[in-house]
Structure formats: C-alpha cells, structure tokens
Symmetry: C2
Subunit: 273 residues, 2 copies
C-alpha cells in the first residue's frame, strides 16, 4: 500500500524516469502492474536494484534491515537506499552496524507518515503522501549528500519533510502514531461484540485504525517498545484523571481536562486533509 | 446541531405539518430560521409547545428533565414529549418522578445516536439521522401508544430504532459512545502539543471527537458515571494487556490481542456510512 502509493506518485509527478518494483509474490506484481504503480516488475532483487539511483524499501518493519542489506549488495556505486518503516532506531542501528563504510550504497532512514488501515497495492493512492509529514533520520554516519537527495525525493512527492535523529523520531511517533493505534485496538478489543450494533460515528472514527494489520503493527510496536512504554504511561495518567473525576462527579475537573484536550485537537483541525 | 438536524429532516420528509422551534437565544432562532431547520420560531416555551402533537427536547443533558417538565405543563392533552439526550436513566427517572400520572402529556426517552464533534444549528445536517441507530426507552410507566408513536417518528427520519430500558441504554452507550469520547479526550490531552506537527490521519481520526464540547460531555459523563466506571475498567484491562505484551516483546500475544480487536472492528466496516 505505501510502496504502491510511492510508485503512483513518482510516476505521476515524473520524479524518476522509471519505477522498478521488486516483489516477493507474482500475484502482487501483477496487481501493481495493473494499477500502474510500477513501470516494470521483477521477483529478483538483484535485477531490480542494480541500475537504480534510489531504492525504497517498503516491506513490513521486521524485514527492512535485511532487505536494505541485500539491496546494498547489488546496488550500483553511489546509489541511495531509504525505507518507509514506522520505527527508525531499530532499523537504522541494524543497518548501520552491518552495511560497512565500504558499501557502495548509502542508507538514509525515512518514515513517510501516511497510510490507512488498509493494506495491499490495491489500496494505494496517488495522493497519499501529498501534504503528509515525512521524517527522515540523520545520524553521525549519515552521508550528507544522500540525506539531501532523500529529502528532495519526498518533497517532490508533496510530503512535508522533517529531519531528526532515529531516537527523536521514535519518541515522536510513539506519541502521535503508535499510541493512537494501541488505544484504538484496546477500544475495539474491550467493547463486547454484542454492543456494536449501536456503535455510531464516534466509535467508528476512534477505532478505524484498529482494522490495521496485526502482524505489521506487532512488529512496529515491539521494535519501539521503550518509547511506547513512556507514551503509554502519559496516556494512562490522563485517562485515569478523567475517569476519577467522572466517578467522583467533579464536574469542573472533568470540564478542565476535556477542554485542555479539545484545545490541542482543535489546533489540528486547520490542517485537516 | 441535533435539534436543527431533526428539524431539517422532519421538514424534508414531511413528517409534520409544521416544525416550531423554541429557543433560548434570539441569535440561535435567527440562524435556525435562516437554515430552514424550523418553520416558525419562538422564545416562549408555552407559545411553542401548546398546540404541538410531538415535542422533542434537544437541550444539553443537564437541562433536559426540567425542560421536559416545563413543556409538560403547557402541552395539550395527549401530546407526546421525547428528548435527544445521551444518557437516559438519570433523565427518565427525574422526569417520571415528577411528571405525575395526571399530566396530560406522555414522556418517552430517546437517544438518536448521531452527531459529530460540531455544535450549533449551523452544523445541522438533513441526513444526520438517516441510517443511524436511535434508542428509545421503555419503563413500567411508559405509555404504550406514545412509545409506538415515538418509534414511528424516528423511523420516519430514517433512524434504526431499538427499544430498551434506560439502564440497558446507559450500559450500551457507556461502551460504544461515552468510552470512545473519554479515550479520545485522554489521547489528545496526553500528547504534548509540540509533537502534534507530525500527527497524521491515524491521530486525527482517533481524536476527532475530542473536539466535542467539554461542558456538554462533562454532563453526559457525570450523569452516567456508574456505567462509565465499568466500561472504563474494561478498556483499561485490554489496554494494559497490550502494553504489557509489547513491553515484554511477547509478539504472539500482541498479535492475538490486536487480531481480536481487528476482527470486531472489521465487522463494523460493512455498515460504514
């Protein structure tokens, strides 16, 4: 879904002369070709990456480090490799430890913060990245020119690029992305199935991302568990304060807690896509 | 917003010959007339209700019981009064205790489960109720003919009517409506404002209802605090299970908890409005 959306946007905006898709399954390749998300497709990573200037790894998080390293083996000199994974420290550390300074390709971690609860190239959208945040990571080992090129790449797709360290990234997304997913999963999981008949739009919106892929998110969560533990604690404290105030009918305290939350959420509304 | 949406739908579907709006503020009356949500408007409740066959109270929850009782004093014989409040036991008990068997009007509690984070007649939508659940409540004191008429009224606006006791209603909505609101408020409240720059659609959806009116919801929450305490506990247990499994990297447990949540949420998707 994210890989397909990148392919569609690159082709529409003519950011590259050619988009070569490397696939694990022939069925996915056929779908991607049909959706015109890639110019050409192959099941052979060597064949797919050897002439590429930029290689974007869009596998599930758990497979990203090994896929980056495989791509690096076959990439041409000066090629740049980036990814679209939702955690960064775990990926970047694993890659930087093994890629070696002798590698002909440079790696820069990326996280285009766009997506939906849907999976698969059939859910790809040409405008997915347009207007969305995209974090790219910088470490002591990051090649400066490669960083600039990766930044330009995402900007050309309409994303709003921010540069930070992998750790800063992981902290930030633990709060604005991973935590909302945990909360949505917990809400959908907690409500007895028999009650869902009366669920209206509030419940639907709040739990929409609980339809996301469990395996994909289990990987994202466990590879960012330290930051998630801290974010989860912050939520827990606020949640308990509200519930306690309701239980003891402290109306003024309830209003204060809700109003503080609302004022933060209202500011987001200006940028509503 | 809910009153205006009812007015718009009643007029469009020709469910009543005339919709008379009773307002507290002249400015709201002007807006409602401009939006054509009412045929006529008045600031005088007596004048507004005296010839009405059906009276719908759409004030904030805290004002509903006293407004029902005032309307009952001026209503004609055989008139039916209902409401649009998000809690029911608190409202229905207060009304039934005081309305007396000698009242010429009958009261039936209703909760059209539609709305949004927006407030005010300018946010009213003619299709708001169409396809939405609407719970109406039945007690030992409920007049059977009045119940039938109120049921027919909401059905005529396109709502899917369910009849239950006020207590059953409060339990049900504590889970599918009040709990999601608390969770959304807690999430928006917990995340530091400085992080919101990177918030993408997941965060936006999950916190959309945190833009709801704090005073309105403080009333709803505190008038349903017993059921909310139970619902809050259910959420808390599921949330803690997920967080604990993430912290200790028990991937299989994380997947199982997320998959159970996803399977429930996926079933809702068929009815997505």
């Amino acid at each position: 879904m994210i890989g397909g959306s990148i392919g569609l946007a690159v082709r529409k905006r003519k950011v590259a002369g050619e988009v070569i898709g490397v696939f694990r399954r022939p069925s996915t390749m056929r779908k991607a070709l049909k959706a015109r998300a890639v110019s050409r497709g192959t099941l052979d990573i060597k064949e797919g990456v050897r002439r590429a200037d930029l290689i974007v790894i869009a596998t599930p998080v758990g497979l990203i480090p090994e896929t980056v390293l495989r791509a690096a083996r076959f990439a041409k000199k000066g090629a740049i490799i980036t990814d679209a994974g939702s955690t960064k420290a775990w990926i970047v550390e694993k890659v930087e430890k093994k890629i070696g300074t002798s590698a002909s390709a440079h790696f820069v971690g990326s996280h285009p913060m766009a997506g939906s609860e849907q999976a698969g190239v059939e859910s790809a959208r040409v405008d997915l990245l347009n207007g969305s945040p995209c974090i790219i990571t910088k470490t002591a080992k990051t090649d400066r020119l490669a960083l600039k090129k990766v930044s330009r790449f995402w900007s050309a797709l309409g994303a709003k690029v921010k540069i930070m360290s992998p750790k800063e990234h992981d902290r930030s997304v633990s709060l604005v992305s991973h935590l909302p997913h945990i909360v949505a999963f917990a809400l959908a999981g907690a409500v007895p199935a028999g009650e869902l008949e009366c669920a209206a739009e509030g419940f639907r919106d709040t739990t929409r991302i609980a339809s996301s892929d469990p395996g994909l998110w289990a990987d994202i969560f466990t590879t960012n568990r330290k930051e998630i533990a801290k974010a989860a604690k912050l939520f827990d404290l606020y949640y308990r304060d509200i519930v306690k105030a309701i239980k003891s009918s402290r109306r003024a305290d309830v209003v204060r807690l809700l109003a503080k939350a609302k004022s933060k959420r209202d500011k987001l509304a200006y940028g509503e896509k």
